[in-house]
Symmetry: C2
Subunit: 313 residues, 2 copies
């Protein structure tokens, strides 16, 4: 398994933002280690699997990054310093509460004076107001670091690099790997140079290679003391728990939680499958609660992290 | 060819927004026919080709919809009523000038009083101010109708429906088909019901079917008097003009223009390949011009449309 991963990293190209992103991450970690913070590393959004070197087409995933972006705010609320590794253009913490078309209408209804517009926060005013207050604090204390990726290979290079940097935080680092990572990709050596041409009435056959499994390596070698939470999304109810349990195969004792859910229940119900408990825990949110399900998930996970830190080694 | 198209429409599922969208489009057309407007039908953004019925994965295209959204504003500037059929979440006219993260920072730097924020337009102030002025006029005169799609089949149903409605505008309708339409898709009958499962070290083979060519039918039957402009994007310079010329095969005399460009030159250079002129026209924009290349393209096309209307039948 490890050799598959090694050959992946030696044959694929590192993303152009790798060095700068890792340098910034290193600084961010130094800064908050001094402050004695807990760290949360969130990955969010879907990775692409390009079909051409000069990429026009790619295989993608429906993830828009809502789970990751929402969770980031709730981890920040719990006092964590958050590293947010997300798909470029995916849903982002804080800005997710703003809609461009609503803003445009507010702006066009406002009065403009001296390069300023009176901007009406509208019916969502109270919520946006408290979001802005939280955002100000996060900025002031430098609590959120964003790094972005597009393709599966960008993602894996950044995942490895950031994990290795975080390993020095040991148990204080919590990994929340919510990104929807392609199970398949086309290796660089097999990519067509230019846009694949269509020919009348000829089928296109694509051969995709399974993505090497990095979580076992991450768990056992890159960050062996940090607590890992991974995710499992399925559409078939009969597979969900089975596949979530299977996710613990080959990972170390720091891989404690799989957050599992069905596609159509994403906002309403998740199951926490735990490596160290027979019983899994259901988290159900009702529409009437006025809460986001991520608030409930993160409270539960922060407690698990707290207990994990308190365990004697 | 026509029978391939018929079998496509009889075997694929119409999008849920089809009926409402066509009813709204019909009203929009009635309204502006009375006002004696010219119509521009813009398609924008990439279509997806889902790989599962309960879609988790799909083949996509890098188009973000910048060309279409930018062009919409320039057509509105030329006095057209615009029907904008665009990929859900793609770049939109007017809002494309706003960045959520900049807005969040402006909001968080502003002073909040009575549910309002003093919103500083920042260094882009002048540009945003004039954009807001244009947007107000467009709203006041009801000049922009937006319809959205996600998958290739959504797109084709909406393209057919809107084209047939616009056919009554005859020469007054200008079609600007900038959407990046998948050349391949998986027919509904061949789609896996649930998320395709990955199995260790087994390749995934995908068989994709060529998308039926609808432009010949659109050109000859659905809207035979309206002026058609289509688009060709390539990454290989040696293919660009060849493929652009080939786009006129099987289309009617109303298909007059192909706007062709190389992926890496999108913002800087396009070639107008014309069915009725031997010489093609290059449009080159310099960074220093302070203009968007779409302004130049649309001026040229509006003139071609004007001449087309003036031709005796």
């Amino acid at each position: 398994m490890a050799s598959l991963v090694e050959s992946f990293f030696s044959s694929e190209t590192a993303p152009s933002n790798l060095d700068v992103s890792l340098a910034t991450t290193r600084e961010f970690i130094q800064f908050h280690l001094k402050e004695n913070r807990l760290f949360c590393f969130i990955t969010s959004g879907g990775t692409t699997a390009p079909l051409e070197k000069n990429t026009v087409r790619f295989v993608d995933n429906i993830s828009k990054g809502t789970r990751g972006a929402t969770s980031a705010e709730h981890f920040l609320n719990q006092g964590y310093a958050v590293i947010f590794l997300a798909r470029r253009m995916s849903i982002q913490p804080f800005t997710r509460h703003l809609q461009l078309d609503e803003i445009l209408d507010s702006l066009s209804d406002g009065t403009i004076h001296d390069n300023k517009v009176d901007f009406d926060l509208g019916p969502k005013g109270k919520k946006i107001f408290s979001m802005i207050e939280q955002y100000k604090k996060v900025k002031e204390h430098n609590l959120l670091l964003k790094v972005d990726f597009t393709s599966i290979s960008d993602y894996l290079f950044l995942l490895r690099g950031i994990s290795q940097l975080l390993s020095k935080c040991e148990k204080r680092a919590f990994f929340y790997l919510a990104a929807a990572v392609s199970d398949f990709f086309v290796p660089a050596a097999e990519l067509s140079e230019h846009k694949i041409q269509s020919r009348d009435s000829t089928q296109l056959t694509l051969k995709l290679t399974p993505t090497p499994k990095l979580i076992p390596l991450l768990s056992k070698e890159w960050a062996p003391l940090s607590l890992l939470t991974t995710f499992k999304l399925e559409t078939d109810p009969s597979l969900l728990i089975l596949k979530a349990k299977r996710a613990f195969t080959d990972t170390g004792p720091n891989h404690r939680v799989v957050v599992a859910n069905l596609l159509h229940e994403t906002r309403r119900k998740v199951v926490l499958v735990l490596s160290h408990e027979k019983q899994h825990r259901e988290i159900v949110n009702s529409l009437e609660s006025g809460k986001e399900i991520e608030e409930l998930i993160i409270k539960e996970l922060a407690q698990i992290h707290h207990d994990y830190i308190a365990e004697s080694n």
